[in-house]
């Protein structure tokens, strides 16, 4: 029981981290109709910038400055790259963001090398915050949780309660009308792309010390974030939120319980093969849940796309 609670908390922290990435991605998608395949690369940039800043000024300055740099970079990418490619259509846009991912990944290795970098949580958060079921939750994880929640609340507030939020929401559905009303829609686009990537950057800043800052971190998390937004329904913030938590828990629980296919087969009355290594079904007999845990989201992705192409919360395409 205690393990379940602690897993719930771990899954929540991880899920909220995913949401920080997927919320930015969703904002960008619903705004511009582009699935930004390079999104996770900005997440990685956030972590590396923060690392670089932290070596000079310490963690807290990096927490503020690094996401801002990423925001500016993201806005620049929209202004000078994506806007240009936009005219060629959707598939070239996807390909552009894909290429961008590739280049950023290479650039990070070019600048910071190919090893992991020692980006660590600040001393002030290096204590144990909670003792649960014989396990501990470090203060830094609680800090991650609080930042994620703060972001979620702010985002919700901005979109639902402020004038800018209204303009953005309107521009989502009726870009031409909003433009006719005198709002600078390209500027809004640039801003949204910047803020979206900035959110990814912030996620990188706070995830870097916990999940290790290394050149493969973008690739590792990248496709999972697409799963979140697609499963949640492209363009739906609520969907992204639900799917992020769902996947956070799915992965946490799948990794936590060593349920083996062999046990299930035994329960079903099959006999354990004598020399399992040479058995044609050896892989089935030895398969465990943690082994397939990390690919469960992809299975979910394919199933959702096949049976509900607009995702769990997405709007049906007209």
């Amino acid at each position: 029981m205690d393990l379940i609670i602690i897993n719930l908390i771990d899954g929540l922290i991880y899920g909220l981290l995913l949401f920080m990435l997927s919320s930015g991605l969703t904002l960008i998608f619903s705004m511009m109709g582009v699935l930004n395949l390079s999104h996770a690369a900005f997440y990685m940039l956030g972590a590396y910038f923060a690392y670089q800043i932290s070596t000079i000024t310490g963690f807290w300055v990096g927490l503020i400055v690094a996401p801002l740099i990423v925001t500016v970079l993201g806005a620049g990418v929209e202004r000078y790259g994506l806007r240009r490619v936009h005219q060629y259509g959707h598939v070239p846009e996807l390909i552009f963001t894909f290429g961008l991912f590739f280049v950023i990944e290479e650039l990070v290795q070019y600048v910071w090398g190919r090893n992991m970098v020692p980006y660590n949580s600040p001393e002030s958060l290096n204590f144990i915050a909670l003792n649960l079921a014989g396990g501990t939750i470090p203060a830094y994880k609680i800090f991650m949780l609080l930042v994620s929640v703060a972001i979620f609340v702010t985002l919700y507030y901005v979109l639902a309660r402020t004038r800018i939020g209204m303009i953005i929401q309107a521009a989502l559905s009726y870009p031409k009308t909003v433009e006719a009303l005198g709002h600078n829609v390209p500027l809004v686009f640039m801003g949204v792309f910047g803020v979206g990537t900035g959110l990814a950057g912030l996620a990188g800043v706070i995830a870097g010390p916990s999940l290790t800052t290394f050149p493969g971190m973008a690739f590792l998390l990248g496709s999972i974030v697409f799963v979140c937004v697609v499963v949640g329904g492209l363009g739906s913030l609520t969907g992204a939120f639900v799917a992020s938590l769902l996947i956070g828990w799915l992965q946490t629980f799948a990794a936590s319980y060593n349920i083996g296919a062999g046990d299930i087969l035994l329960a079903m009355g099959y006999e354990y093969p004598k020399d399992v290594y040479y058995h044609p079904w050896r892989d089935l007999w030895t398969l465990t849940l943690p082994q397939i845990g990390p690919i469960l989201p992809y299975l979910l992705l394919v199933l959702v796309l096949v049976f509900r192409p607009h995702g769990l919360f997405g709007k049906r395409e007209s």
Partner: protein, 413 residues
């Protein structure tokens, strides 16, 4: 089309021209490991160690065959199986007869397979495969062949040493095995099960594999390990999988030792820093601390030339010297059968590493001293990642697994 052809011609010619280098009459070793991409540091580090060993220990001491220089030709395999085979073929086409590779047992397996076939099909252009780092036991067991020589201690031998240490720690009652889901990870788990049962009465409370390079957050694994009540963990993880596992364990309140194969250098030592102190127990050949004069001198010279890299794969020192010795003994660098016969069964004493090395004839597995050490910053003569932290040896198993059995049925030419 014509222009294109010309361009290709030029490109091919340029590629071959450049990489064949200026020295015509040297004995070349093709170093095939990742030099670009995410795994490039391991490869580049290994390359520096090879270059330095060949220069310092062979060429400066008069070369081979009465004055011929040895040369390391670097070829990038991008940590990709296909690319490795292409590079082996390119090396062979350039007349190189020695292939050195180490990163990834999967790739080593592909290369040894290719070398076997190539040597059968082209008896006049045979090559020898110097495996300096891939430790999947299968390579010197079921999949062994005459052309493959392994200079690192394989996963079984290392586990033999680890379990020797563990058997001497009475407080360890419960053990958790966790590893990456591929041949090496499975080999580690199998060896651990075998030796723990042989030598101790320790209960294995968990034995699991996770997908390699796919786990984002190891926290749930750490929770599970804690919940199982394990006193110690054995893992074959490397790279980010190693770091993330270790970090999650220490964050979750785990206090016991983690016995590991690849938890040092390449940024890992620096990233762990204080958090890994007393937790990480590394097994390996030729560990550094406490150092010996010969090693200190060699290390100093190495660091002077390559300040960024570590002497993290000391077996390369043995491999370079033993290969040179074998070539001299055979009196040829062209007849691979003769070189191979000279190398198998060779006994060698390394002053730098203070170990005897025996290239066992029956399976071409090098037998040497294997050490277990801990990650610390106390009494460190030779550190990793220039971090002040290093591995301090507390247990040495001399000529580890000297008489271990092998399933190798080698066909000799």
């Amino acid at each position: 089309m014509k222009i294109l052809k010309k361009l290709i011609g030029m490109a091919l010619a340029a590629g071959v021209f450049i990489s064949s280098g200026a020295f015509a009459d040297t004995v070349k070793i093709a170093f095939i490991d990742p030099l670009s991409g995410p795994f490039a540091t391991t490869g580049s580090n290994g390359l520096a160690e090879w270059k330095f060993a060949v220069e310092k220990l062979v060429n400066e001491k008069g070369g081979v065959l009465g004055g011929k220089k040895m040369e390391v030709v670097a070829l990038d395999n991008k940590m990709d199986g296909k690319e490795s085979l292409v590079q082996v073929q390119v090396a062979i086409d350039q007349g190189i007869r020695f292939i050195a590779q180490g990163n990834s047992s999967g790739i080593a397996n592909a290369i040894t397979d290719m070398v076997k076939k190539h040597n059968k099909r082209n008896p006049d252009k045979r090559v020898i495969f110097i495996n300096y780092s891939a430790v999947d036991p299968a390579l010197t067991n079921d999949k062994c062949n005459f052309w493959h020589f392994r200079f690192d201690a394989n996963a079984d031998i290392k586990m033999d040493a680890i379990t020797d240490v563990i058997a001497g720690v009475p407080s360890i009652k419960k053990m958790y095995l966790i590893g990456q889901d591929y041949s090496f990870g499975k080999a580690v788990a199998a060896a651990a099960e075998k030796y723990l049962a042989q030598k101790t009465s320790i209960e294995i409370v968990g034995n699991e594999l996770h997908p390699i390079g796919k786990v984002k957050d190891f926290t749930p694994y750490a929770r599970k390990i804690l919940a199982s009540g394990a006193d110690a963990v054995i893992t074959g993880n490397w790279g980010a999988d190693m770091v993330n596992l270790g970090k999650s364990l220490s964050e979750s309140g785990y206090k016991g030792p983690v016995y590991c194969y690849y938890c040092a250098s390449n940024g890992i030592t620096a990233t762990f820093g204080e958090a890994g102190k007393g937790m990480l127990h590394l097994v390996g050949e030729g560990l550094q601390n406490p150092s010996r004069p010969a090693l200190t001198a060699y290390h100093k010279a190495f660091k002077a030339k390559y300040p960024k890299w570590d002497l993290s794969q000391p077996r390369i020192i043995n491999a370079a010297q033993m290969l040179a010795a074998a070539i001299n003994k055979a009196g040829t660098a062209d007849d691979m059968v003769a070189v191979g016969k000279a190398l198998e069964g060779m006994e060698f004493y390394s002053e730098i590493l203070d170990t005897k090395v025996l290239m066992r004839a029956k399976d071409h597995q090098a037998i040497q001293n294997v050490h277990v050490g801990i990650h610390t910053n106390d009494d460190i003569d030779i550190d990793f990642d220039n971090s002040g932290y290093g591995i301090k040896v507390f247990k040495t198993v001399e000529m580890a697994s000297m008489d271990s059995p092998t399933t190798c049925k080698m066909k000799r030419p």
